[in-house]
Amino acid sequence: MNTTLATLAVLDGISYAALVFLVSVGLSLIFGVLRVVNVAHGSLYAFGAYLAATLSLAVAPISPWLTYPALIVASIAIGVICGGFIERFLLRPLYGRDDVLQLLITFAAFMIMDNLQRLIWGVQPIFAAEPLKLLPNISVFGVAYTSYQVILLPLVALLTLLGLRYFLRRTLAGAVILAVTEDREASTAIGIDAKKVYFVTFVIGASFAALGGALASPTTSLVPGMGADMIVLSFAVAATAGLGQIEGTALTALMIGLTRAFIIYIQPEFEVLVPYLLMVLVLLVRPFGLFGAVQVRKI
């Protein structure tokens, strides 16, 4: 592989990693705070994508630039409405009970949302590429790239990472979330409303899933079953990173993106295996993930 191809592979890898990070970080955040493995995360991704496409197609005739706010509005709407509903009415009654119940209830939510998606948007693929078409292509060694994929998506991913770090470590609200993550009982004892923290965190996590879908919607066809594919990949990323680890999620997404891109250039047969091979290799060496730590369990 020469330098030209290596450069192209790096660009492809970063672009893919950005999208993977945006989808996985919500799952990781929810697990880190709530200790809930949210199987419905894939459906939130799909709903975000479908609603973003619907809004984009609706506002594009007015002004194509309105499609960008449409992506944000769709992400927040899905995060608040769907995420809020799942946390308030499905998960909250189960806190403190067997973890398997949380897994089952979010799986049920996933199945229901999958069918709802078909009822609302049908089975024919939907494509709404207006936001992508607004930005120009750039040429790298004579190969055209869309600046949406190689500039905008990585930029949004980077801002998300830095923003989350700042929010969690430099703001009062972030400190409250970290306190509940560290010790729910102690933080409740000093007056923190843990239920409110759980709700807000779940809505933020769900909004990130929806944002991943919304930002992916201009680049891909929206089809039935798209949520199921994404959730498997998100779990692989979150598990490799160490559940709840934001920086680990970013690093893992980058590793997966770059490895996958180089594999497609060198040995495309192994493309599908990349995330899972990486996960197995990392977990064999570090069973708690790249950034995970051994947990002390209270008895």
Partner: protein
Amino acid sequence: MKFLKTALAATAATVLFAGSALAQGKPAEIKVGITTFLSGPASVFGVPAKAAAEMIAEDLNKKGGIGGVPVKLSFVDEGAGGEALVSNYRRMVQDDKVDATFASISSGSCNQLVPVAEDLKVMNFMWDCGAASILETKKYRYNFRTQANGTPEMLAVLLYLLKTKPNFKTIAVVNQDYAWGRESWEIFSTALKAMKPDVQVVAELFPKFGAPDYSTEVSRLLALRPDVVFTTSWGGDLDTLVRQSGQRGLLQQSTFILAIGESSIQRLGKDLPEGLIVGARGDHWFLHPEKKGDAAFKAFNEAFKAKTGAWPIYPVYHMAQAFAALQTAYDKAIKANGGNWPTREQVVDATAGIEFATGFGRPVTLRPEDNQGLEAQLVGVTKTVPGYDFKLLDNMMIFDPKVITNPAGIRSVEWLKTLKPEFVKMDVPTFKQ
């Protein structure tokens, strides 16, 4: 005396039995069980096909049904897959007592259900699945394929390419990573090596089924600059591949072959450029050059458009073919039975070797040696036509199925290896849009 009594009883029993076979009363309805994708990515085929089945059955029943008996449909979702699909199929046959089944879209489903149909002795029409191997490895009594298989479908698009752009030197493939993606490339590449051995395959890419992103594949192909890019992808995967390729100039750089792209043309709209080679997976297209003036054909297409909002695509026509085959088989069996209602076995006997008019293309024959449907293949190239917000097919060629289907008893790949460069020189009529 004892002998006489026995003989009389035997004679009476024989007469009664024969009478019941020869003059079986008409049933209240002909029950047809259909497996189709109602969930998952392949529902882009399954849902329109279900709509077509309901429309055809309703129309058929308005006209008096088959032999005066109305048709009643039941559906099973192929999306359930695996054991659930087999269980539901068995329930449909054993509990609902369907008279015939149409199964299925996926070759995987066909591979599962064909032996079950044979075991349950129920007539089954493989109405859409394309794996040639199913009928090549074993002779079945109850299973028939009412359309072509992957071999003539891939061979037709290759012949079209060789006839219209014979000077290409390099080719790349981007197919979905599952049975169809692999098998269709094996058929295409085997025939290509036999008829044009100097072509270099520069990339064989098999992205994950349902992949949301082809950016890296597109980058690699832009760097490799193959003369031709071949794909048998479908549904959302094909839409994504075509759009991502178009956004970055790959569709303009290489000649694209969308081997079963007819089903995506309407969705891709203006994103599809001119000059792409598109296969129709059979002899059907809503503006079929030999049928577009036919009133019944136009009425069917317009009724479907009114019902679903889109013009029919190939699974719709494949479903219609299965109904045409069913009607022809029953009509033939009734006639052979002196006008009396036939037994199920008599219908199966009548089905072998039938030729049936589809109404939207050339007639299809069910080859008696292996029950494989011989269906012509329509291939064209995309063109902008005023009045349509998507591309239409132009310079269409319709290939004779007897020439491009492997002979019964010879495996597809073995037959394809025997093809010579002269094979391309066959006469094929070309039709303008």
